[in-house]
Symmetry: C2
Subunit: 373 residues, 2 copies
């Protein structure tokens, strides 16, 4: 992260391996600096993480995502078994670290939505203002999410002391300056790396084009609440797998299948984003799309929590009614995120094509500036 | 309705009184033709009207709205007491006739929404698909709305045999060819009528400009669910009137106060629309705005019904949860209608200004073509 920019001459003669090694060295260094901080942060917490992860955890999440993305997009240039194993271990750590902040974010989102929907501020009275079920639903959600966060915290605490994490740290230590590159990485950077970046964008575009983006870009089309599954043949497949299944499970399957391609899209946006960073061309457009799809994911997760809470036995009808409103509200947020994505997407491909076809004159070798997300 | 278009010369010399008399004669004739049909239709129904009122009732509603609108907009040109009394009696009949089709429309909207939200069609699986509460909520809504429609039917049946209706029919009979115009109506049509039309548009624009149209034209702003009352000081006033009032009443007041100016706007759009028809310049833009605000009204009314049904004693939590989703869904429809209005509105005033400042060369004296709405 602290490399000085290369001179134009050095950049023009850099090999793909030079670029990738420099990036991996910087990211592995960041990993090794952040890891003890993150472990300390988790150990020091009583079990309820803040919505924004503490600095060490945030840094660790950031570098884990970037190394994993790099190893995926440019995987053909690395020793295969090593790259595959590294990605598996990094994904494990990512899921582990993301667990607690994920619940914290979900809690903040749901309780915030409830407060907004039941609030009486002059500028934002909600449709549940003063409703008897609102405090009960709030307490129920808070209780269930606090429990989930506490459980997640225990899991994280335990795993952060595991041999598996030590092995991963060793793997990162070895990575500094010594990435196991294949011979193919010896070619000139643009010639070798650009096809990989292009492949990441092709995968992204292919997934995006299977989504009803034009419909999503038309507001209030009902995509979040009423028109699920139109784009996910997997939804029908899921339904067929258990023809006898009735009750709320049907809607859960339909919602999950409807959200799945958007979640997949988010991963592909992140990979494309990190690939451009490797090329020294971070893209604010991709950053924004990533943020929009993050909002989509958070709202979809929060909607599931609201629906699940509504199935808690022995709740009052008033509580259930409020949870129904909150569930619909979060599905509306899902729809709003898809709208935001659909509106931004069409502008993107031409801009990216330009970057990919014409190797940038001075873009190579500049490591991405330290980023905040 | 069947007058032949006037020649250009006749049109240019027509007085305001000529124009208004011709319109009132045509509309009063339509009233007298439609009334016995409507009475027969209501009498023949077992108590549950169709969503689209039968032909006689629809014709009667249409003509009652137009005569009432004309008497309001051009009221200064008529004998005051007569115009005021006529408007009161026409409003009474309008409210009476609109009652049963209103419930029928509300029932179709709510049951349709529930079917859509709980449906499993490949192109439109809903977020409540297979939910155990959906059939119960449907039965509850159907029962309550059928009861309301049956009661409304009895009221309408009774009033359609009343002396009050006979008196109104006599009033309409006298109106044919003999509108009690004041001397001021003897001036040239454009000179006399245009200021009245302009006043109708000024009132419309003033009310519209007090609404957050720019915010409404930005989709997913939360206006229907979370940000009520921002534009209605009356909402706060309502709240202050009963500082001790808690519970669902608070939200009901906020929702009613939030919707009220939009309902008022709809009346003003209709008046402007009918005023332009009198000038022989029906406006498809105003027709569309009227339709959009009609959708707003229907969704707002349906939302109230869903919220009220959710307060039925002894319903199951599953039923209440589904009604919460339906309530939010209808508030979303309210928001969508405001969005549609906000998007259309800004284009409108310049076009209307043009019409009002330059009297149309051949527009006067052409009675509006028979309309379907």
């Amino acid at each position: 992260m602290t490399d000085a920019p290369m001179t134009a001459q050095a950049a023009s003669t850099a090999t793909a391996g030079d670029i990738l090694s420099r990036h991996l060295t910087a990211q592995a260094g960041a990993f090794l600096r952040a890891l003890p901080l993150a472990v300390g942060e988790v150990g020091a917490r009583p079990g309820t993480a803040a919505v924004v992860p503490a600095a060490g955890t945030a840094d660790l999440l950031r570098t884990v995502r970037r190394i994993g993305g790099l190893l995926h997009t440019f995987g053909a240039l690395f020793e295969q078994t090593w790259a595959q194993e590294s990605r598996t271990e990094l994904r494990w750590l990512l899921n582990l670290l993301a667990l607690e902040p994920g619940y914290a974010r979900r809690s903040a989102r749901l309780l915030g939505a409830l407060d907004s929907l039941s609030g009486t501020a002059p500028e934002g009275t909600g449709m549940l203002a003063g409703h008897a079920g609102a405090p009960k639903a709030r307490a129920l959600l808070d209780r269930q999410l606090t429990l989930a966060r506490t459980r997640a915290h225990s899991t994280v605490l335990q795993e952060l002391r595991s041999a598996r994490l030590h092995a991963l740290a060793d793997r990162m230590t070895l990575l500094v300056g010594e990435a196991p590159l294949l011979e193919a990485a010896g070619g000139r950077a643009p010639v070798v790396l650009l096809p990989q970046v292009a492949a990441a964008f092709t995968a992204l575009a292919a997934t995006a084009n299977q989504l009803p983006l034009q419909r999503a870009a038309t507001p209030y089309g009902g995509d979040g609440l009423r028109r699920l599954g139109a784009v996910s043949p997997s939804a029908a497949a899921l339904g067929q797998e258990r023809p006898g299944a009735r009750g709320a499970v049907d809607a859960d399957s339909a919602l999950a299948a409807d959200d799945a391609p958007w979640c997949r899209l988010r991963i592909l946006v992140k990979r494309a984003r990190y690939a451009l960073e490797v090329c020294g061309r971070p893209s604010s457009e991709l950053d924004e799309l990533d943020a929009v799809l993050g909002r989509h994911q958070d709202a979809a997760d929060a909607a599931v929590t609201a629906a699940t809470a509504a199935r808690t036995p022995r709740i009052t009808p008033a509580t259930a009614y409020v949870l129904g409103v909150v569930h619909a509200d979060q599905r509306l947020e899902v729809e709003a995120a898809r709208y935001a994505f659909g509106r931004r997407w069409p502008d993107l491909p031409p801009g990216l094509d330009g970057w990919l076809e014409i190797p940038p004159a001075d873009g190579w070798g500049h490591p991405p500036a330290p980023r905040t997300a």
